[in-house]
Amino acid sequence: MIARLALFLCSLTLAAPAAAQLRIDITSGVAAPMPVAVPAFPTGAAVATPAGTTAELGRQVAAIIGNNLSGTGLFKPIDPAAFPAPGMAEVDAPQFAAFRTAAAQALVTGFVTANANGTLTIGCQLYDVFSEERLVAQGFTVTPAGWRRAAHKCSDLVYSRLTGESGYFDSRIVYVAESGPRTKRVKRLAVMDQDGANHRFLTSGQSLVLMPRFSPVNETLSYMSFAQDRPRVWIYNMGTGQQQAVGEFDSMSFAGRFSPDGRTLVFSVTRAGNADIYAYDIASRATRRLTNGNSIDTSPSYSPDGRRIVFESDRGGSQQLYVMNADGSGAQRISFGDGRAGSPVWSPRGDLIAFTRMQGGKFRISVIRPDGSGERLLTDSWQDESPSWAPNGRVILFSRTERNGRSSLRSIDLTGRNDRRIPTPLEASDPAWGPLLK
């Protein structure tokens, strides 16, 4: 009986709400880069390869990863002198105490091995220094010519595991390289890895070229050229060298962008002093007009689901942003406020549209939600324009022209932090960030 009574009391107290334990709210932290250790990747035996010895590659791979991570503004690679360089044995069993002493919170290790068939295997492991848990373990097999991609893929794994974002390092940027006096500018298309390596010019500069854009399908670009005094859009396969003119128009066509499935190109065509947006089916080569009216409609950009297009138009009296369905119907203005708005690009994440806000005599990169709410200015300089999103929708690439006329490429995080220069051999403008390579 007493036991049963006790059981009842027991159950009551279990049901009673517990309120005496402290619960403390931490409502803010600091936005500081995470210290991460990226020691040189060891190798079993230093073997010579066409790309250098495996030991040298191990150092360079670590340097690329450190550079990629620090470029995000979210990580701070620790000086390798602060901790002992791991050997092959420590790759799977790191000396965590040493890394904790160096104030690292995460550790990236790996290895470089030359295989008998001439390929390289590059290992990539990420450890949490506090919990000593291994978070990532992946190996990559590459040809000696492609070893940098393994470093970028490792960076992507580490970055996405620690931030939750998807990666963006294994990608390329295409842009217009500029030289010569401003009144007789020479412009050439150029392509490079997102960290500036493997830079190549694609055109000679003989014809004026503008607006290069990557297709989601690898190796394919669209761009605009004034060759033969006929300004029009071309689709160019970098791998085969094949070119395809987009449509047969008597007037100028320009501002091409690919759909997310790579099958359609939207672009502008002028007509009697106005400009309309057209869609071009790449396979069938058929064109279809999407907008119609006495206005300049240009800079179209697809949403990541391919169902809508954001573009700029002056149909309301000044350049502003509009969103319409992919078939051209239902256009609605989304930009309001001070000044003009142009060159919109829809984020691959779908949540934001980046564009150029022109107000107060300046051009500034801004982001806005597709419904027109929440506009945030990100940059503040003389003339920032031509925004382009990284494949993960987190970083925006753009072109900055200073008052003295010099133009360069820059990138910024969508939180407005980490405005940094992308180095190019010549002056640069009109950039476009390509997709993650496969």
């Binding site: 009986m1 007493i2 049963r4 009574l5 006790a6 009842f8 009391l9 027991c10 009551l12 107290t13 279990l14 009673a16 709400p17 517990a18 309120a19 005496a20 334990q21 402290l22 619960r23 403390i24 709210d25 931490i26 409502t27 803010s28 932290g29 600091v30 936005a31 500081a32 995470m34 919170q105 949490d128 506090f130 919990s131 996405s160 595991r161 620690l162 931030t163 939750g164 974002e165 998807s166 994440r349 949540d351 987190r394 995080d413 969508l414 939180t415």
Partner: protein, 270 residues
Amino acid sequence: MTEGRALLVAALLHIALLGALSLGLARSLQMTAEPDVTPVEFVDISDMAQVTSPPKPSMEAAPQEPEPLAAPEAMPDAPPAPEVPAPPAPKPVKAPDDTAAQDAIAEAVAAAQPKRPPVKAPVKDKAGQSAALLDKSKPNAARPRETSDFARTIEDALPKQSRLSAIQAATLEQAIRAQIAPCWNPPIGGADVAEMTAVLRIRLNRDGSVAAPPEYVSQTGATAGNQAYARAFVETAKRAVLRCAPLDLPADLYPHWREFELNFDPRLMT
């Protein structure tokens, strides 16, 4: 006793205990929600003993067991007398003999607990907590002990000094927050992170170091679409604690910060 009568007694006790708990709960909610608006009678400080060290606990002073169920109506509104007046006082004062005495008692309490089989641990804690609710206003009262075995279990399990005054609680929270917040690096800019929160349970040793890895309790704002961000968010919270351990907290209040929860909410950052 017949079955019927036993049931009747049990039902009456149910109702009475629920009533007592409800009242106690209401009071505790009131305290934690508005620590500054506790109904108090203003007491002239000069009347109180100039306490420069935390009061020495004694077995008589410590709450022994659940109060008789009628007691809650009689709870006065005045704060209990031996409250430490100045908030920073508990921390800098570490008179060795006082802490030694407290340590001895705390150890005795701690020693009493492991005697019980582990499965009863949640029972003991809840009992201790409900007892703490009831005891708030009369910590020093000596009470007659019940002789039943179960009651003895409860009384042995109660931590000494289970009552934490509003000022002490606020001080402790401030100290913990001030040490954890600068170490927290939330993944702002991540999708939906602005709307996320996460609760971790922290267990510390006496020296402020972590006794166990921070334990995930709960999280808000996670959806099927933002799982990667949700996981990264929780990990930054865990890392914040591990980075800045050991924490520097008043040893005399160790029973209260031995285990606590942290609610990470980046609302002021985004």
